[in-house]
């Protein structure tokens, strides 16, 4: 499993990368691996308000439907609408082109409550055992 040091992570297996008050959000390498081939992605609309811990989208693998939970609160400034046609990019590049939404943070302090890469790796290891 890959988990870059520069990102923060939620217990629902989303990652966050913050630049200038904007959080880019996606699902982790571990999450995409557990889901298997992703064939459909449903994302929040631009300007919609998302809340930390609440579902903001859906990923569907061949077998299963899974909610994507927003790891932070704020307003969606952009969604990765390209994933509608190429959902498999979430599998092949979860931390890059497979990003899902950009959110203007309502409370930047929320990011500090998320796990670091080392904490997330430990969390996943525990979840597996």
């Amino acid at each position: 499993m890959e988990a870059p040091d520069t990102l923060r992570y939620s217990e629902e297996h989303e990652w966050v990368r913050v630049t200038d008050g904007i959080a880019v959000i996606g699902i982790t390498d571990h999450a995409q691996d557990e889901l298997g081939d992703i064939v459909f992605v449903e994302l929040p609309a631009k300007d919609s308000v998302v809340t930390k811990g609440k579902p903001f989208g859906v990923v569907e693998s061949v077998k299963a439907v899974s909610d994507v939970y927003s790891p932070v609160s704020g307003t969606v400034v952009e969604a990765n609408d390209g994933l509608a046609d190429t959902p498999e990019v979430v599998n092949s590049d979860p931390y890059g082109d497979g990003w899902m939404a950009k959110v203007a943070l309502a409370d930047p302090a929320e990011v500090e409550q998320l796990m670091t890469a080392a904490q997330y790796e430990e969390f996943v290891a525990k979840e597996k055992s």
Binding site: G36, D37, V39, E60, V62, K63
Partner: protein
């Protein structure tokens, strides 16, 4: 919690890095390399499935043919030695106990292959009607592999003394595969050419290894239950527990050609004759999703905004690259050309009734590609 059952290939699946999941009380591989890749392998080359969880009963003796005829909807008299039939066990009210394959090994010796989740129920059902005919549950000592795909025949031919070229669809032969005694049946659950191989549970690991080895140059891959489901759904083959159950009838499921209502009597015939007269109240139809989303098992189907049915199986078809589904709708809607939607997470998404199967393989002499 009861411990999950494992097939003799459990260790082989683990070694191959399979993702294992619970299925009908069994711990089974859902995928190895990934469902889409495995699906593609079966459509373009070949795939090997462990389906040893399925059940096998042998019915033998003077009353065997009569018992099979009384318990199944198809006509056992149509079978010759070495022939297989798709057929159904029905209740008195026409509800489906199970859908099975029936093998005639001799005029007085039949093999029933039943769904894994129904083994105990089916055995009790068959025994309750046996009237002294011997019914032997061989499930635990029998392994079952499915070798499926356009290159299955050449792979199998390299390992067996059975004349594969001469073995027609829905026929079987007994011989040796990789040196192990096996029943080689030209049947499957994928919509491709292929084979199902019955062997002793103690031989099935060796058989698996030999097939994987011999098939690798041809592109053979191990395939899990995930792709088994997408493959069978593209071929519009019913799955018991989803599309069929005790409350559904074979006529409403579109399986009338496997129900011989004008031949010998069988359990459920009177109810099914009455259904034929009156018409089925609901029908299983093929659906294609026209909007965004995937219609899945249990999602409501609406006609002109009112509930008229339910999706029983649905996925995104890897071959067609669109979402397809099977579902029951009220008879009045079963030929509708518009007005149907499926409710996906509170949204009404347009669906259209389409002919099934969704996918049909190109036959010899038929140009590849669709119409």
């Amino acid at each position: 919690m009861t411990a999950l059952k494992r097939t003799p290939l459990y260790a082989a699946h683990q070694a191959a890095g399979a993702k294992l999941v619970e299925f009908g009380g069994w711990e089974m591989p859902v995928s190895y390399a990934g469902i889409l890749e495995e699906h593609r392998a079966v459509r373009t080359a070949a795939g090997l499935f462990d389906v040893s969880h399925m059940g096998e009963f042998e019915v033998a003796g003077p009353g065997a043919a009569g018992l099979c005829q009384r318990l199944t909807t198809n006509d056992v008299n149509l079978l010759v030695d070495g022939q297989v039939q798709y057929t159904l066990l029905c209740r008195d009210d026409g509800g489906v106990v199970d859908d099975i394959t029936l093998y005639r090994r001799a005029a007085d010796r039949y093999l029933l292959c039943v769904n894994a989740g129904n083994i105990a129920k089916d055995l009790a059902w068959v025994q309750a009607h046996a009237e002294g005919v011997s019914v032997d549950d061989q499930s635990d000592r029998t392994g079952l592999l499915a070798l499926q795909g356009p290159r299955a025949a050449e792979i199998l031919a390299s390992l067996t003394d059975v004349d594969i070229a001469a073995l027609r669809t829905f026929r079987f032969a007994e011989g040796a595969v990789a040196g192990k005694p096996a029943i080689v049946s030209r049947t499957g659950y994928t919509g491709e050419d292929g084979f199902e191989l019955y062997a002793a549970a103690t031989d099935v690991a060796a058989l698996w290894g030999a097939l994987i080895e011999a098939g690798r140059p041809a592109g053979l891959q191990p395939v899990g239950l995930g792709a088994r489901d997408t493959l069978r759904l593209e071929a519009a083959l019913a799955l018991y527990g989803n599309d069929l159950d005790d409350e559904t009838t074979p006529l409403s499921a579109g399986l009338a050609r496997f129900v011989k209502l004008d031949g010998d009597d069988f359990v459920g015939r009177d109810a099914l004759r009455a259904e034929r007269e009156a018409g089925s109240g609901r029908r299983l139809v093929g659906l294609e999703v026209r909007g965004a989303g995937i219609a899945r098992h249990g999602y409501p189907i609406l006609g002109a905004g009112q509930p008229v049915g339910v999706v029983t199986s649905g996925t995104r078809s890897p071959t067609l690259e669109r979402a397809v589904a099977l579902g029951y709708v009220e008879a009045a809607w079963s030929e509708a050309s518009e007005g149907l939607t499926v409710e996906i997470r509170g949204r009404q998404v347009e669906v259209a009734i389409v002919p099934t199967p969704f996918y049909r393989r190109a036959r010899k002499g038929t140009p590849k590609g669709g119409s």
